[in-house]
Amino acid sequence: MSLVARDVQFGYGGRPVLKGVTLGVEQAEILALCGPNGAGKSTLLHVLGGLRQPAAGEVSLDGSPLSAFRPAARAARIAVVPQSLETAFDITVEDLVALGRLHRLPLRDRLLLQPLRGADRTAVEEALRELGLGALRRRQIGQLSGGERARALLATALAQGADHLLLDEPTAHLDPAYRQEILEILRRLAASGKRILIVLHDLTLAGLYADRVALLEGGQVKALGSAEEVLREDVLCSVFHAPLRVLRHPDGGRPVVLPAPTPQH
């Protein structure tokens, strides 16, 4: 059950982007969504997040069509972490993370202009602590480093209290240390039972951290399975149309994907 796409089709202005995608996110797993540029990864994420309606097929949450959920009810179950935050206005880390509770604030508190309290306050504090943002809580988002900002966005999603986390390349702008940090946090969250779908360009990171990998190409799922099953040279070369080599990581033997440049004289 939970969040499932069944034969989902979607296009922008007649140009098909998703051509029949079937995919579900299991409990306590990290599912990495990989594939070439333009394969439809981000689009699939937005369809799964309920931002876009499939033209055909269905996205369902616990068996009910996702489109039947009101925005607040959907936000209680699915949190989406954007790749970056480009805001015209600075906002403090604490105020940003507090927005995670927006979907469930009681009417009475809203009308009385109450600050966050009770379970909402606790959820925000826990999210800040979980991502080590306690010392940065009063900082403006614009003053944060890329890695700190990525953690703040993740904390906002965490404060939402949703059991599904969908992330759109959260590590794209980060250096290797921050990438690793974010993925370690996600692994911890998955271990606590969250269902995590993450769009990843970095196949090696996918190999190291994902429980399952889905390879998307031309709007279709070309391979879906464990990292060992999917990240194979023959599969990757045919999907990316480029020579790629797969090695084993010295620690643990997970697949590591490397480019195979044409030899120079």
Binding site: A76, P82, L99, L102
Partner: protein
């Protein structure tokens, strides 16, 4: 944090009231504070000082404070909805929409007193147009302001065109456009007060939605905001607040630009703090501008000239800073 914010807001409000008191003292006949206070106690008195205070100075100063507050609040709401710190009801066509609506009402149904309603419909329609036209992701903030400005010019041109062919309405509307704060009545003040209270109250209830929408519509949707409904409601609210301000005092620019900036500088960008402060600063700015406008040795000039002379360079400075990539 909340009490500190409240304390700061209270302090600003006290400063505004002190400024208003000074503004009541200033005029062709200077009135010392003691006499102002004694006149406050005798609203119906036929004494000259009491008459000046109650019939000339007070409505004007309170009117300036309320119109400025309305423009500051409308600016803060519109800036969040357009995700753009350069938005201002005057600059992006909301005020021109109000005038056009008022013009149409005056021409089509003179004598029916539909001018305020026309102003509201025009202002809300223009706010909707500006926000819908620039809604797509990735539209730069300078583009948004240019689109809004073009809208403002177009709506202004339509108003002029209509008036060219309707001389009978010209005089009334022209007088109404120029408005100024000299003609604000106690009835208009109570309307302004009511709409401002509604606008401030409702926008405060939706302060976190405004925070989310200022980040982006997509992000707001994922956070559980019913974006379509909330956005529409807040745009109508900004239109309503702008329309009563324009109805009372005509077209006054830059108050809605300057006030939210000063508010954010002082208290950060979270709307729980900036909305009320934008209204307070907007009021303070317009009271100051109006006092200057009516105290010049050359005689009184329209207050919009003063706000433009102060606010215009500020806007250009913001624009250039933004071009250089400094967050505003």
């Amino acid at each position: 944090m909340r009490s500190r914010g409240g304390l700061f807001g209270g302090l600003m409000l006290a400063l505004l009231l002190a400024e208003m008191l000074c503004a009541v003292m200033i005029g062709p006949t200077g009135i010392p504070p003691a006499q102002v206070f004694s006149a406050f106690g005798h609203p119906g008195s036929s004494q000259v000082v009491a008459e000046i205070v109650w019939q000339v100075r007070l409505p004007r100063v309170i009117g300036a404070a309320l119109v400025g507050a309305a423009l500051g609040l409308a600016g803060a709401i519109l800036q969040a909805l357009l995700r753009n710190p350069l938005a201002d009801p005057y600059l992006i066509g909301t005020s021109s929409g109000a005038s056009l609506g008022a013009t149409i009402a005056q021409i089509t149904a003179p004598g029916l007193a539909l001018v305020p309603l026309g102003a509201f419909i025009g202002a809300a329609g223009a706010a909707l147009l500006a926000s819908t036209a620039t809604r797509a992701r990735g539209v730069g903030s300078v583009t948004i302001v240019l689109v809004g400005y073009a809208l403002s010019v177009i709506l202004g041109a339509i108003s002029s065109l209509l008036l060219t062919f309707n001389h009978s309405a010209l005089l009334q509307i022209y007088f109404w456009f120029l408005g100024g704060l000299g003609s604000v009545s106690w009835t208009q003040i109570s309307l302004l007060l009511g709409v401002l209270a509604l606008g401030l109250g409702l926008s405060l209830v939706y302060r976190r939605e405004l925070d989310a929408l200022a980040i982006g519509e997509r992000e707001a949707q994922y956070l559980g905001v019913d974006v379509g409904r909330t956005r529409l409601m807040l745009l109508l609210l900004a239109g309503l607040v702008t329309a009563v301000a324009v109805s009372a005092a005509g077209l006054i620019g830059f108050v809605g630009l300057v006030a939210p900036h000063v508010a954010r500088r002082a208290a950060g960008a979270a709307h729980g703090r900036t909305l009320a402060l934008s209204a307070i600063w907007g009021g303070a700015f317009l009271v100051l501008a109006d006092t200057v406008a009516r105290s010049l040795p050359v005689g009184e000039i329209p207050v919009g000239i003063v706000t433009a002379i102060i606010g215009g360079p500020f806007f250009i400075w913001l624009l250039l800073r933004r071009e250089r990539g400094v967050a505003v």
